[in-house]
Symmetry: C2
Subunit: 436 residues, 2 copies
Amino acid sequence: MLPAEVIAAKRDGRDLEPGEFSAFLSGYRDGDVADYQVAAFLMAVYFRGLSPEELRVLTREIIDSGRRLGFEDGGPPTVDKHSTGGVGDKVSLVLAPLLAEYGLRVPMISGRGLAHTGGTLDKLESIPGFRTDLPLERFEEVLVEVGCSMIGQTPEIAPLDGRLYALRDVTATVPAIPLVASSIVSKKVAEGTGVLVLDVKYGRGAFFHDPDEAERLATTLLDLAGEMDLSASALLTKMDEPLGTAVGNALEVREAIACLRGEGPSDLRELTLVIASEAVSAATDCNLDTALARLQEILDSGAGVDRFRRMVELQGGDASVVDDPEALPRAPFLTELTAPDSGFAGGFDALEVGRTSVMLGAGRRSVSDRIDPAVGVEILVKGGSEIEAGQAVARIHARTAEEAAEAGKRLSAALTVLDHPPRARPLVLKRLPGDD
Amino acid sequence: MLPAEVIAAKRDGRDLEPGEFSAFLSGYRDGDVADYQVAAFLMAVYFRGLSPEELRVLTREIIDSGRRLGFEDGGPPTVDKHSTGGVGDKVSLVLAPLLAEYGLRVPMISGRGLAHTGGTLDKLESIPGFRTDLPLERFEEVLVEVGCSMIGQTPEIAPLDGRLYALRDVTATVPAIPLVASSIVSKKVAEGTGVLVLDVKYGRGAFFHDPDEAERLATTLLDLAGEMDLSASALLTKMDEPLGTAVGNALEVREAIACLRGEGPSDLRELTLVIASEAVSAATDCNLDTALARLQEILDSGAGVDRFRRMVELQGGDASVVDDPEALPRAPFLTELTAPDSGFAGGFDALEVGRTSVMLGAGRRSVSDRIDPAVGVEILVKGGSEIEAGQAVARIHARTAEEAAEAGKRLSAALTVLDHPPRARPLVLKRLPGDD
């Protein structure tokens, strides 16, 4: 195996022999293939793609680069979800305790915010003391005791993915479908989940604007999950405006807790329930409708809050904030944005809201940036609602008056006011695989 | 300038701002942009190309990364040639002394063998003691005294090209037209030549099989040279069978000396004269026909041999071999290959002859391989000539009987014998720019 020949084959669109590709990747692990060779290879993959067989080889090499968790205690089925990233998407924070309360086990290895989208780990870390870097043994203990645990990627799980991701990030090779797919599926297989529900977003605030592109990724993910004996389904969901009302870390934790109490915005509740019932029906004998009814009962009872509180406690967090969310970090400057005209809200542009939130300090512009857990935006009107001139449409939580003013300017531009209700797009466009 | 954004722009086919591209390249020189980022960028260039403006920026950055020679002594005009690489191509060895004898100055910075093609430096180094690594001051002295000097790339001339080339070599990004063009033109500008004749080869033994692709490279090279105030023309020449009869380093030096004495194979003489008259007519008031007549006279007089001898002497080589080429290194095993049938020679396949020569030790299979100056192949019949079964068609110069036998097998397969004369293709297909 000559690394330059492997790169040339991919460059020319020739499929690699499994043994040859495998040797290239293990050469990278062992230091015989250099970062610059893998960087050129990844760019060739961006242009040429990977065959299904190549994708299997890559995914297996990533899984085999680290530990693979398994829960052999005869406990409940394991389930997890993955979202391709959105603005205001705090579904995981509600979903994990909800499914744990249902009686399933949810081993979640989550990520951080990327570009204008938020990350589950950043949100959880707005709870004082919460540790997302538990040792794997402790992760497994919390899982057995609470039914859910949420941590970040560790060097023990899929370390090859960590290296590849870091390289992709600085070489403009992140948005390549086979690379995205292998990264997601390998980590889910390694964390030990038996069921995976994929929330593949499309629209203004998603990485794919076009639903067809989102569907291509979903199909690749489902095929690959199938090859890896992971039971998976995918939902194509809309990300034109933020999900729920809160965008920003502590604000989103507060909203997630409200949702676990049976309150909270309807779109967040709806999406969480759809994903949760997918997971339940794949993991158990229960059909979708029965699962949905039982999950609604749990949310309305508020029983998921206890699971969440217990997880926070066992992961070192200050559990008192669960019952008193006002105790979460709060920003010193609060301003409201009002509607310039009367009419119908076209919905806040999710991309712009996400960027504004990053500007306020809720996300990172560079790797070394520190996140401010308190700042963010509350969206007070959703697309389609009737508004009156002067009505408050958004609330800004900022560190300084200057940043609040800047955010106000950007958010004004991010909301259109129409003289007629906008055409409504469904929250869930499609389920894959389709019913047949 | 964020390196990942520059890479993403090229990946997406957007043209880079000159300032942005320049900053990316100087970031690479200064260590702020990493090898892996440049590797991904080069692969994106392979797929997306470079705009004429981007190509100018790259070429200028390469030139400005090192010294730029200038001959301010009021001496003769400077001329040089570049060939895209062939098998048996020893034109430079004849051309430089010939043009020096004509009265021009030929500052040649040459290369080594690549893949199945030979390199001028490797050929010269078959002369015992010959130094291709002269300090630039010495190079300039030899030029002033003899009129020609031939050395290898030095870290003082276009060092950025050296780094980029090394990276391209191991990341399968060598065959990208804009990268090839900037590498060639930048070095010619930096070495101080005012005139450049390009020998762009096509055919079985060339990097481009297709004349249209060769013409695309030639056009890019001519446009770029024009931008850099370098007077250039290009010839598209055939490389289906080796040029001349000798393939292998000492064998080729011997053949070049014969050509300088007015002997030697006709195709080598013809191509050398065509290139030389191009150079003369571009550098002086002389028209092509007059130039050609005078150059023929010089070859026939053998006066170029004195220039060659003097250059060898001043570059540390054993000048006695010039008058006694049999004193050049000789291989211990000599075998002849005979024709299996009578008929017309289809011509030895240049690619196969080149590969056989590398196998014998005349080229490198990996960077660390040492070249054996003595070994190689003599082609005794050219395409179109009538042959009889049993007639010697090639002579193999090998280190061992085993390698000679292996070479014999490969060469038999590389010669077709036809029952009719093959369709002849002209040695020079086209001159660019065309006459208008």
